[in-house]
């Protein structure tokens, strides 16, 4: 099969408000996501995972890594919500890590990017959001978690905004299951889309009932 990679970036909010159950749920969610994907040969072939966390700063704690080499990171919650810094870091990581399609080389598939945050950004996030939306480096799905997240902020990053009011461990579990189903489906469906579907759009499985699409 093709050597093209499907890069997947997960941007996780690790600010102080995530402390306790939520951060533990995210940790086990990423672990479950990895083990679920390892059970799917198409995902094993193409998927590369990266994790970017943000609190008072942003950090790429796992660079883009082949699925079978990926180790789930340890996450800690604390600090504020530097979403802007995370978006800037994402943009740089994509420039650096994702192989471009040129007349000389076969590049990677369009990255799949999942962002979730439970609060309002505390840094100057607008320029980074605008830049990302203008650049469209991949298919971005943003999730506003809990009561304090502001879907309108995420709308400035992407048109695909989901709302997950419930932050219980089970809701996170369902969320990561859906992320894994989305990656699996994309890893199977990437390729010759041709006339069947426009290259721009991706179709993901319907999100679980805990998550609603923000219109």
């Amino acid at each position: 099969m093709s050597l093209r990679r499907l890069p997947v970036y997960i941007l996780a909010d690790c600010s102080g408000s995530m402390n306790g159950n939520p951060i533990e749920s995210v940790k086990s969610g990423i672990r479950a996501l990895h083990s679920e994907l390892m059970g799917d040969p198409s995902a094993v072939e193409s998927t590369y995972l990266s994790v970017i966390t943000f609190d008072s700063n942003a950090q790429q704690i796992v660079p883009l890594t082949e699925l079978s080499q990926f180790n789930s990171p340890d996450l800690r919650a604390g600090g504020t919500t530097a979403l802007g810094a995370a978006l800037k870091l994402l943009s740089d990581a994509i420039d650096r890590e994702v192989k471009k399609n040129t007349p000389e080389q076969k590049g990677d598939w369009k990255p799949l990017i999942f962002i979730f945050t439970d609060g309002e950004p505390t840094d100057r996030w607008e320029p980074a959001a605008d830049e990302l939306k203008a650049k469209r480096p991949g298919n971005v799905i943003a999730v506003a978690c809990g009561d304090r997240a502001v879907p309108e902020v995420l709308k400035r990053v992407t048109d695909n905004v989901l709302i997950m009011k419930d932050m219980s461990p089970d809701a996170f579990k369902q969320f990561f299951k859906w992320v894994s189903a989305s990656i699996k489906q994309t890893s199977q469906k990437i390729g010759g889309t041709g006339a069947a579907a426009p290259a721009e759009g991706i179709s993901l499985p319907p999100p679980p009932p805990e998550i609603v699409i923000h219109m």
Binding site: Q105, D108, Q185, I190, G191, G192, G194, A196, A199, P205
Partner: protein, 481 residues
């Protein structure tokens, strides 16, 4: 957490069944549940189906008049190699709680399809007790394959057997006028350890008289003319997908994914052209612009003359001309003929097709054979005393058995018993064929070889393998290193 561990359903056909409420998986189209005894699986289609009525009608035809697993002498054989739907469940047959419906994205009226659970040998089982289906992609994907235990991988002979099973199953579908429309390594289970295969996801078959399904197939397997939007899935587009499946299974690479760049705009656009409008076989004998460097191993020529001819037919002359592709029946025959050409590698770990004109080197182990190898051409009686070539031949190795499909011109390996009719032996520097048929073998101008007797095989030896009706004439030659 769901309250009840089970729910009951009655199929349209009138069978009562009990299923677990905890789903096993949820895909793009369906969410699936085990029956209580894990003998069946039910899949409910997600959300609202625009073509619900059509799907139901299609399923009724698949389960009814177009069902190869129901009647006929070979029904039990096909049950093994298809995961064929056995029942439909609609809203009259099942009442599901609202919370359950919501959780699984189901809406009234529901539509579910019941299929048998896969056979045991199609699951990996590891020490932790986790269970995984043996989708073909595990064996053909370079990274996925590395994660498998060696004991699961099988040798080249087993892959040819896997391919023969896949080709025969597709041949059976096409014989009945059905097209699968979504053949891919995600929709076949293979067991190379035992040379076994099973086609799954048979609910979107193209049934004559019913509109084709909305599914166009899986990328990488969709025929160029479907990608360019000029044709819909059909038997001819299945023939393309089957060619890709077989090429991947035998060569562990994709026939159209080479280095040629078709668009630098995006991976998606490049791939659409590489699989569609500009599709070009990586081993095209005249146009080398999509050829990988270094050259892939094994090369197409290492597959033997029969398979080489069909791959060229499917991926060169038939790639953009659907009527020129090899049929499933042709593949099946070619695969059995290739199995007859197999010779063990010198170290005994692999098998490779060997016939006159090919190098006497195993392409997998790169080891060279150092002694002459006998090779038989088969002829059948055409008229009194007149024989004609039977389009069959056999590469001989030590301790090799021959079967009825070798001895008789009217027996096919697909339906013959596996009772040995003789064997070859290399003994004290000489080659022998030992007769185990019920009848005599006959050497023209020389005499009979009785049951249990051995005939020495030399350059030019001629023997009629059975004095009974339809016994073939074998003429031996030697391939010399």
């Amino acid at each position: 957490m769901a309250a009840a561990p089970y729910f009951n359903a009655k199929t349209v056909e009138g069978v009562e069944m009990t299923f677990e409420t905890e789903s096993i998986a949820s895909g793009g189209e369906k969410v699936v549940f085990f029956s209580k005894q894990h003998e069946h699986i039910i899949g409910f289609f997600h959300s609202h189906l625009a073509d619900r009525l059509e799907r139901k009608r299609r399923l009724e035809k698949i389960i009814g008049p177009f069902n190869p697993t129901k009647d006929g002498a070979q029904a039990n054989h096909w049950k093994k190699h298809f995961c064929w739907p056995v029942g439909i469940v609609d809203s009259r047959g099942v009442k599901l709680p609202p919370e359950f419906m919501r959780r699984h994205n189901l809406v009234e009226p529901v539509l579910g399809v019941v299929v048998p659970a896969y056979r045991n040998n199609f699951f990996f089982r590891d020490r932790t007790g986790s269970v995984r289906e043996k989708k073909g992609r595990w064996f053909t994907g370079m990274k996925a394959r590395k994660l498998l235990p060696d004991s699961e991988k099988g040798d080249f002979k087993r892959y040819l057997q896997v391919c023969a099973v896949m080709a025969s199953a597709v041949r059976r579908l096409h014989f009945g006028g059905l097209a699968h429309s979504d053949l891919s390594h995600n929709n076949v289970l293979i067991d190379p350890k035992n040379g076994d295969a099973c086609i799954i996801d048979c609910d979107s078959l193209v049934v004559p008289g019913i509109a084709p399904p909305s599914v166009l197939g899986t990328p990488g397997y969709i025929a160029p003319e479907v990608l360019t939007g000029t044709k819909l899935p059909s038997i001819e587009t299945d023939q393309h997908a089957l060619g890709v499946l077989l090429y991947e299974t035998l060569m562990l690479r994709h026939p159209l994914q080479g280095p040629k760049i078709h668009s630098s705009k995006s991976a998606e656009e490049d791939e659409a052209l590489a699989m569609g409008k500009h599709a070009l076989f990586i081993e095209n004998p005249t146009d080398h612009s999509n050829r990988p460097n270094p050259a892939p191993n094994p090369s197409l020529s290492a597959m033997g003359s029969h398979l080489q001819a069909l791959f060229l037919k499917t991926f060169v002359s038939g790639l953009h001309h659907p009527s020129g592709r090899a049929s499933a029946a042709e593949w099946e025959k070619a695969l059995y003929k290739t199995i007859d050409l197999l010779h063990p590698s010198p170290n005994g770990t692999e098998w490779f097709p060997l016939e006159p004109g090919t190098p006497m080197v195993c392409p997998f182990t790169r080891q060279r054979l150092t002694s002459p190898v006998p090779f038989a051409q088969f002829y059948r009686l055409k008229g009194p005393g007149a024989y004609t070539h039977d389009q069959a031949s056999l590469t001989v190795h030590h301790n090799m058995y021959i079967y009825k499909w070798h001895v008789f011109s009217n027996v096919s390996p697909m339906d013959a018993d596996r009772e040995p009719q003789g064997y070859f032996s290399f003994h004290q520097g000489k080659w022998y064929l030992v007769n185990q048929t019920e009848a005599q073998m006959y050497v023209p101008d020389s005499g009979y070889v009785e049951h249990g007797q051995a005939l020495e095989i030399k350059q030019g030896t001629q023997v009629i393998l059975s004095a009974e009706h339809n016994g073939r004439l074998a003429i031996f030659d030697f391939m010399n290193p």
